[in-house]
C-alpha cells in the first residue's frame, strides 16, 4: 500500500518548526499550515534564500534572524474600530452588563500593535466606565507590544479611522483623541492609564487572572483545531460566570468543544456570554 506522501516542503516545514520550538521555545507547530506556509515562503524570499532548509540553518545559528522571523510570522493586519458593528453591539449589549460590576477586568489577547486596545479604551471612556476598568493587552511579540505601548500610528490612516469611529457609534470628534506630529498621530496618554501591556503566548502560556471580558479577534484563525481547542479552554477557564467573549467577524465557537458553554448575545456579531 502507498503511504500518504508528504512533500519535501512539508517535511522541511515540520523540521523548521520543531527546531525553532526545541531551541528557542517558540511553538508554531499547531498553527494553521496553509497560511503559515505562505508566510514562511515569503520570508525565505525576503532573506534571499532558495529553500526552507537554508532558512533553518540561518534561524538556528543566527539569533537576529529569529527576531525577523517572529516579526514576519506574527504581525497581523489590524485597524482601529475594525468591524464598526461589533463596537455598536458592544455598546448596546455588553456595556449595560459591565455597569453592574464595581471593577472590570478585560483581557485583549493577541492585541498586535494595539489599534483595537485604543479603540476599546476610547469606547469605555465615552461610556464613563474606563476608570473602573483594567485592560490587559497581551501579544507574543515584544516589538509589536512596544508599538502598542507607544500609541503612535500613521497620520495617513486617521481619515479612514475617523469614518470607522463614527460608524462604531463614536460620540466626539475623533481628532480629540490624538495629537498630530509630522506624519504621526500620537494617542492621548490617558487612554493608556488603565492598560497593562504584557507578553503572553497563547500557544504555551496559561491563564493569569479572572476576567469579565476577553477579546481575541482574528487571532484564532491562524491556529489549527488542536491549538484552537487549547486556547478556547484557556479562555473559558479565564472568564467569570456570565463573562463575555468577543471574537473576529468570521470566527466562530461552532467548531470548538466550548460551543455549548456560551450563548450568543448579539445577532451576527461574535459576542458570546459564558453560561456556567
Amino acid at each position: 500500500m502507498d503511504l500518504p506522501k508528504s512533500s519535501l516542503e512539508d517535511i522541511e516545514i515540520q523540521l523548521l518548526l520543531e527546531g525553532v520550538y526545541q531551541y528557542y521555545g517558540y511553538d508554531f507547530r499547531n498553527y494553521a499550515l496553509s497560511s503559515l506556509k505562505r508566510r514562511i515562503h515569503s520570508f525565505v524570499r525576503l532573506e534571499g534564500l532558495t529553500n526552507i532548509s537554508a532558512l533553518q540553518e540561518r534561524l538556528l545559528h543566527h539569533r537576529p534572524c529569529l527576531d525577523r522571523f517572529l516579526l514576519n510570522l506574527t504581525v497581523n493586519v489590524t485597524s482601529m474600530f475594525r468591524d464598526p458593528s461589533f463596537y455598536i453591539a458592544f455598546r448596546q449589549q455588553v456595556i449595560p452588563l459591565l455597569r453592574t460590576y464595581p471593577f472590570i477586568r478585560i483581557w485583549h489577547a493577541g492585541c498586535s500593535t494595539g489599534e483595537e486596545v485604543y479603540s476599546m479604551a476610547i469606547l469605555l471612556q465615552e461610556e464613563k466606565l474606563y476608570h473602573r476598568c483594567r485592560i490587559y493587552a497581551t501579544d507574543t511579540n515584544e516589538r509589536v507590544l512596544q508599538n502598542a505601548k507607544n500609541g503612535i500610528f500613521s497620520l495617513k490612516l486617521m481619515q479612514e479611522y475617523t469614518q470607522l469611529y463614527l460608524r462604531a457609534g463614536g460620540q466626539k470628534s475623533f481628532s480629540e483623541y490624538y495629537t498630530a506630529a509630522y506624519d504621526n498621530a500620537i494617542f492621548r496618554a490617558s487612554l493608556r492609564d488603565n492598560v497593562i501591556f504584557a507578553q503572553h503566548n497563547l500557544a504555551s502560556d496559561s491563564s493569569f487572572n479572572e476576567f469579565n471580558v476577553i477579546l481575541c479577534r482574528n487571532v484564532l484563525i491562524y491556529f489549527n483545531p488542536t491549538l484552537q481547542k487549547r486556547v478556547h479552554t484557556l479562555f473559558y477557564n479565564s472568564l467569570c460566570t456570565f463573562g463575555i467573549l468577543g471574537l473576529g467577524r468570521q470566527e466562530s465557537i461552532r467548531f470548538t468543544p466550548c460551543e455549548n458553554h456560551y450563548e450568543e448575545i448579539a445577532q451576527g456579531e461574535k459576542l458570546y456570554r459564558r453560561l456556567n
Binding site: A32, S35, N76, R249, R254
Partner: protein
C-alpha cells in the same frame, strides 16, 4: 478517484458569470465549490443572497475552520483570504496578494497544496492578473484547469492572463462551464 473541490475565481463582471454557472448546476451536484469574487472590504451579505436566488445548493460565507462538505457552495468573506486545509477551510487577514483580499491565488494555491490532482480550478471574467499563479499551481499538481473563453467574458484581462501563463486544459464559453463541470465530476463518479 474523484474531485475533492472546485475552486472558482472571478473579479469584474463576476456576479453575472457566477449566476450563469450556478443556475446550470443540477441539485445533486456533490463536489464542493469554493468561490473568490473580488469585492469591497465593507461588502455585506448581498452577494450571497443574490447568488442564492439562482441555485438550491446552499451557499455560505465561510467561517474559520468550517468543514468542507459535499453539495455545498462556499464564498470567501470580504477582507479575508480563504485557504484550504485537509477537510476544512481556514481564513487569514494577511496582506492583500495582487492588491486583493480575498485573493484567488491564495485559494487556488492552498487547494492545490492539499488536494493536488483532485482540484478543478476555474478562472472567469476579471480585469486583473489575480488567479494566474494559482492556476499554474493547480496545473503543476495535475489538477484540471478551466478558463472562460475571453471573448465571452465581460472583462477578458484575467482569462487572457491565465491562458498566457498556463497551458489550460479547457477554454470554453461561459455557458459551457457548468455542463463541463457536471461532465468531469459525473465521469469521475462513475
Amino acid at each position: 478517484m474523484s474531485f475533492k473541490i472546485i475552486v472558482i475565481g472571478t473579479s469584474l463582471g463576476g456576479l453575472s458569470a457566477l449566476k450563469n454557472i450556478l443556475v446550470n448546476l443540477p441539485l445533486d451536484f456533490l463536489t464542493p465549490i469554493a468561490i473568490v469574487q473580488h469585492r469591497h472590504k465593507d461588502s455585506d451579505r448581498t452577494l450571497q443572497a443574490l447568488l442564492q436566488e439562482h441555485t438550491s445548493l446552499p451557499i455560505r460565507e465561510v467561517e474559520d475552520k468550517q468543514e468542507i462538505l459535499p453539495g455545498q457552495i462556499y464564498l470567501a468573506p470580504p477582507d479575508y483570504h480563504l485557504l484550504v486545509e485537509p477537510g476544512y477551510f481556514a481564513l487569514s487577514t494577511d496582506e492583500p496578494v495582487s492588491f486583493a483580499r480575498p485573493s484567488i491565488d491564495v485559494l487556488f494555491e492552498s487547494a492545490a497544496d492539499i488536494y493536488r490532482e483532485q482540484v478543478i480550478g476555474v478562472i472567469l471574467t476579471g480585469a486583473n492578473q489575480d488567479g494566474t499563479q494559482g492556476l499554474k499551481k493547480v496545473q503543476a499538481h495535475k489538477g484540471i484547469t478551466i478558463v472562460q473563453e475571453p471573448a465571452t467574458a465581460e472583462s477578458s484581462i484575467m482569462p487572457k492572463a491565465a491562458i498566457a501563463a498556463v497551458a489550460v486544459d479547457w477554454i470554453v464559453s461561459l455557458s459551457e462551464i457548468a455542463p463541463l463541470l457536471v461532465n468531469l465530476c459525473d465521469y469521475i463518479r462513475k
